[in-house]
């Protein structure tokens, strides 16, 4: 018996500042008929990502805002329960973009089949998914990292940051420095992920001072997940011809006013710095090379990753808030029962 209804998280109101429980609701919806070329999927893992916060605003961006009173969207891995699409059959596992719900009917176009034997299913949302490609293409293509360079990563215990640091080490970085928001995460960076140095940005010492201590010879690349004070510190520490990959500004996503900016941006002129904003959807053409390299490292046990798994569709919004507060270590996913 195929399911006929699904619970799905709806956006009811556009949050001002931090999202509140009354901004969203878990509602039961009808599952539509399976038109040709479509799949009925039971979601097994839902992705919660910082970028989803942006889609709750009614702002023009690279992806349209979530619609009010409709289910929100996000990355998900699930099992095909029924297919009317060529190349997909019942029992296949797929990666798609209709998360925030238990079941979905999805157009097979753009859906990717994944191999549950090559890696854990949840990995396709993280280390082998969008966050992995973000780390890999951001470091190598956007920041033009080269062997022998020193790399600083903020939000370094997160899904993207922890992978950036490890990729830099695997590719021959002279030194990799990370910042994170707790002593436990700092320890994780050094002990588990092999960072050369790490610091807790929530300590009283200014980020610039902590960075100067952790990177006494300066840095060549800054992978920015945070913005604000971190970016200012990095601009101060970057060598001539340094590069910044601007990946995120999580410190600012829930700000209701303009936030402090790097007051030393004019240093970019004399230092010839390049600051490049990017989003992973521009880098899909690099997926094959990414899968080959990162998949190989995973297989060889050279790349470590952690996940924070929250169980149950009803806990998805709390998981999302927790991720925004930095409670996750590594990729945050929601697991739904098989």
């Amino acid at each position: 018996m195929l399911p006929t209804t699904s619970r799905a998280w709806h956006l009811l109101a556009r949050p001002k500042g931090w999202p509140k429980p009354e901004d969203v609701e878990l509602r039961e919806v009808e599952i539509p008929e399976l038109a040709p070329g479509r799949l009925l999927v039971r979601n097994l893992f839902l992705s919660v990502d910082p970028a989803m916060r942006g889609r709750m605003n009614d702002a023009k961006s690279y992806v349209p805002p979530f619609k009010l009173n409709e289910p929100m969207e996000g990355g998900a891995v699930g099992r095909v329960l029924a297919s009317t699409a060529d190349g997909f059959a019942e029992g296949d596992y797929v990666l798609h973009w209709l998360g925030w719900r238990e079941y979905t009917v999805v157009d097979a176009e753009g859906v990717t089949k994944v191999d549950p034997n090559a890696a854990a299913l949840s990995a396709y949302l993280g280390v082998l998914g969008m966050t992995g490609l973000t780390a890999w293409s951001g470091l190598l293509d956007v920041a033009s990292f080269k062997a022998g360079e020193a790399v600083f990563v903020s939000g370094a215990a997160g899904a993207v940051g922890s992978q950036v640091g490890q990729i830099a080490k695997l590719k021959g970085a002279s030194r990799v420095i990370g910042s994170a928001g707790s002593a436990e995460k700092v320890e994780l960076l050094v002990e588990e992920y092999g960072f050369d140095a790490a610091f807790d940005y929530k300590e009283d010492t200014p980020v610039a001072d902590q960075l100067a201590k952790a990177a006494p010879d300066g840095i060549d690349v800054y992978f920015d997940n945070v913005g604000g004070e971190h970016l200012e510190a990095a601009i101060g520490a970057l060598h001539t011809h340094g590069r910044v990959a601007m990946c995120g500004a999580i410190a600012q996503y829930n700000a209701t006013e303009s936030t402090p900016a790097p007051r030393n941006l004019a240093l970019s002129i004399g230092k010839r710095l390049r600051l490049q904003g990017f989003i992973v959807i521009d880098h899909y053409d690099r997926r094959d090379a990414f899968f080959a390299e990162v998949g190989g490292w995973l297989k060889d046990g050279k790349l470590k990753y952690r996940e924070t798994v929250v169980e149950g569709i009803e806990n998805t919004f709390d998981a999302f808030l927790g991720m925004l507060r930095g409670e996750n270590t590594g990729k945050m996913v929601v697991a739904l029962p098989e």
Copy 2:
């Protein structure tokens, strides 16, 4: 009779904020013997440039700071009075880097011979010199300008800015917008240099509002001579995949504290903006192509330029301050008697 002494501007103290008359002094110095491989040059035109302010500070930069109690340095064109260097003879005109003085002995290495018949001598300090190469390589190489794009230039009535706007038009820009600091300069931009629109940033209306009016369809490239509020406005107006050539931040050179920064820098992520700081010394390899293209436009009367000429070595420091205050229109030079 060759001269044996020269007046030369010395730096006595590193200015805090705006340079003051007591920070510098015009002193008479002995001209050294003409060792082999050197030229004795009578300077005819001295360049005064915003970047010279930076060299008055004791800060690590791409060029060393001026030394205290020694003559300052800067671009100059002069006539050779005596030569012990191969390839240079008395009567040759040369471009060199030992300005801020009447006469100088200079190592022939790095000195460029110039043709007084191909262009006015002062042009080699401006439209065909460092400022010209700055405009040309900054727009084409750093900002990757392409035909059909809309370009915004700040400090647009200056030596670099006025050339950026004209090059963009000559290369097929869809729209060129400039900002300047007076109604007269705004008129000059539109009437003489052919900008499509221009505004006076000193008016009460915020720069972002004036830019939105002048560029209702947004911009693709921002050539930044100013920093601060201008850069923030440009980030707001830039299209996806827009580029910023960060050439100068003249608004900030005399600031004693950190200055306001673009509070919307995080927009660079979703818009995939590229902000690239640059200095012209990295682009010397493009000089031949620059001379060919810009020299051709000059010959054909397609490129217009203005100069503000101040007479006399004793007025050099006032000319420099006037340039920092924006009193010049086009390239500011000091002319010394032949």
